[in-house]
């Protein structure tokens, strides 16, 4: 498998490890009748500029909620707490106007369903012009179109397509338009929330290629939210794994795929369907069910399903530690605890 994921630009981004966005203890808490539900629970990670960060996890693990929370898109009564430091500014302290200006100009988003993510009554060019005019209201329509014409061509949207309505376009085309909307204002970070999920594999591959080219060309960071691990392995530089609202492992795509540390990541990788699976060999099925977030398991949230559970897993919550350089994991297997009886695995740098 290892030969499949070799992002060519990994080295380049490793050299220029300039931090774009620091997320610290980000918590998103939905108010429900059964009490607050922390869909994202004290998540901490960094996004470097010019990297593609893959965010994977099961359905309901809080991936999309995290993506939206980065733009503070959860209206009250949902509470978002913690810190998001974007280019040295804490956007949690922004007021509504500053936040509006931040959205689109600094961070933009591509959504899962291309069929519904464009306004059905607006033409493509109106979308693009509006994206510009929202932030620069004085821009004339003709100027705005001129500004974006080369970009749209770069994205493979022909000029004659500009006057089409969204329902005239194919799914892939619509996602390209959405991508274009994100790029017209030179956003630093594009959040692709399951952007390729509803496309067929060929269109998906094209879009993924396009995203990578865009990254190389415009030096934007891309947060790729997906449950398709194979796809993330193909495109991402680093990968973050979420489980039950918490970040359980984050590291470079090589390390996470070659030497997954967290038992959940191991299980996740084992359950990818493989064409080379032998006759009669069964696909790995992780035991148990994803936890109910209204009453998440105590301590380590994965312990009820964990095959490598330690003696303290059900008593204390492990912190997220850097087990090897650049490879963080939230698991007792790799750290000491006074009450722990299992041996701690030491990862030696080779």
């Amino acid at each position: 498998m290892s030969e499949t994921f070799k992002p060519q630009t990994f080295d380049q981004s490793a050299q220029t490890k300039q931090i774009l966005c620091q997320v610290r203890n980000l918590t998103v808490s939905y108010k429900t009748r059964l009490g607050p539900v922390n869909a994202v629970d004290r998540v901490t990670f960094d996004i470097y500029s010019g990297e593609i960060l893959g965010l994977v996890g099961e359905s309901g693990s809080g991936k999309s909620t995290l993506g939206k929370a980065l733009m503070r898109m959860h209206p009250p009564p949902t509470e978002t707490t913690g810190q998001i430091i974007f280019k040295g500014e804490d956007i949690m302290k922004y007021d509504d106007d500053e936040m509006r200006d931040f959205r689109g100009r600094k961070v933009s988003m591509i959504f899962q369903d291309p069929m519904t993510s464009l306004n059905p009554v607006q033409r493509v060019d109106e979308h693009v012009v509006e994206a510009i005019q929202v932030h620069e209201p004085k821009t004339k329509t003709a100027n705005a179109l001129q500004r974006v014409s080369s970009l749209l061509e770069r994205l493979g949207i022909a000029k004659r397509r500009l006057s089409s309505y969204p329902h005239h376009l194919s799914g892939g085309m619509r996602q390209r338009v959405m991508t274009g909307l994100g790029l017209v204002l030179n956003a630093n970070l594009i959040i692709a929330d399951e952007a390729t999920t509803s496309l067929d594999v060929i269109v998906e591959a094209k879009l993924v290629d396009l995203l990578r080219e865009i990254r190389d060309e415009f030096n934007v960071s891309i947060l790729m939210i997906s449950h398709n691990i194979a796809l993330v392995a193909e495109i991402a530089d680093r990968i973050a794994v979420m489980y039950a609202g918490q970040l359980v492992e984050i590291g470079s795509v090589y390390e996470v795929f070659d030497k997954p540390l967290h038992p959940y990541t191991k299980g996740l990788l084992k359950s990818i369907p493989n064409i080379r699976l032998d006759e009669g060999e069964e696909l790995y099925k992780m035991p148990g069910e994803p936890p109910n977030l209204t009453r998440p398991p105590q301590a380590c949230r994965f312990h009820p399903r964990c095959p490598e559970r330690t003696s303290v897993s059900d008593k204390y919550e492990p912190p997220l530690i850097e087990a090897s350089p650049g490879h963080w994991v939230k698991c007792w297997l790799y750290q000491d605890h006074p009450e722990k009886t299992n041996p701690t695995i030491k990862l030696d740098e080779e």
């Binding site: 733009m71 898109m73 936040m99 509006r100 200006d101 931040f102 959205r103 689109g104 100009r105 933009s108 988003m109 959504f111 899962q112 369903d113 519904t116 993510s117 464009l118 306004n119 059905p120 009554v121 607006q122 509006e130 994206a131 929202v134 932030h135 959405m178 909307l181």
Partner: protein, 422 residues
Amino acid sequence: MKRELTPETEVETGTTQVEQWQLDLDRVGFVRRMLLARKWYGGDWWFVVISAILLLGIIILGVFPQFFAPHDPRAEVGPSLLAPGQPPAGYYLILPDESTASELREVARSENDIGYIVGSPASQALREAIDVINEDAAETGERYQPRPRRYNTVEEGLAAVAAGEIDAFIASEGELTDQVETDPQLRNAGIIREAGAQGFFLGTNQLGQDVFSRIIWGTRIALIVGLSSAIVAFVIGVPLGLISGFVSGRFDRGLTLLMDSMYSFPGLILAIAIAAVLGAGIGNIIIAIAVLYIPTYFRIVRGQTLSVKEELYVEAARSLGTRPLTIIWRYIFPNVIPSVVIIFSVNVADAILTGTGLSFLGLGLPPDTPDWGIDLSRGQDYLRRAWWLITFPGLMVTLVTLSFSMLGESLSEILNPRLAEL
């Protein structure tokens, strides 16, 4: 049992030829038949075309009534209660034979008595003739004002003339018998009003106004009331619904409560109450009806807004930093408006009906306005004698209301993509 039969056996064994569509209809279940009927009703383009042509005609009538109405709707242009197409009758003056008078002027002093049949247009003819005489005599300062005497039949009246109880008798050609010729005591002194050559297309009302002209001018009032109140309700209800649905929270709950409580009133009762409080005038009628329909728009728009604002493209617009007002105006409003337009068309019909109802009850419009509701309410007093007074205004109300709702309903059926292919 009948469902088992195939069309062929039905046609062969039956003595009479059965139409194919009847067979088709017979073989489908009740529910399916209803569905098919709805398809026939809604999907057929000619339904829309007919109502659209009707509406176009009605709107042209309402905009240019002066080109279509033959008379001034407020002027008394003929004898009262003239049936449609019937020319006005001529009226004769009957005198006793011994009388020396030869014309009306000589027997029209205030000490004279003039008789006519109860309820006959003859009284009007007499009044008009006297008016003419008075006008002529205005310079001399003389005043003609005969005392009226009413009789149930011509015979009674003529007998009274012959007996010398009254000085003259007025009757139309139709009322007169040949008694005048045969009875030596009576003398026909000639015509006091000429018979008209031409009648009125839809007759005249109790005041002698042309019913046809009043109906045509009434179109204008109906359209003004219907359209303006629907527009006022639209202009107020739609933005409120948009904002309420978009903002949600306490503001939304309060406004929804208010609108729902207004909606729960029986429509006409609320309109009567508001019109009674506001007083007379076409503007107040419009406001009263508009208030009635604001909740309709509010509820529809709010519901649609609630669902549209959850759409991904609204989310996407927010993620681009679009302002809430821009989102409402450019993303939600255009996606909500199609369903509102249909409501609008049906509402105009409703508003016309309510407006007519209000003026029927005597609320709002000045009594001499050429309005269908007023005509209906006046005309019902003469229902026995003059059917045309309420038939034609009522027909117009039905026609206009029908074509507006027909257009709205069939448009909604046609535009609704879920009903397109049944």
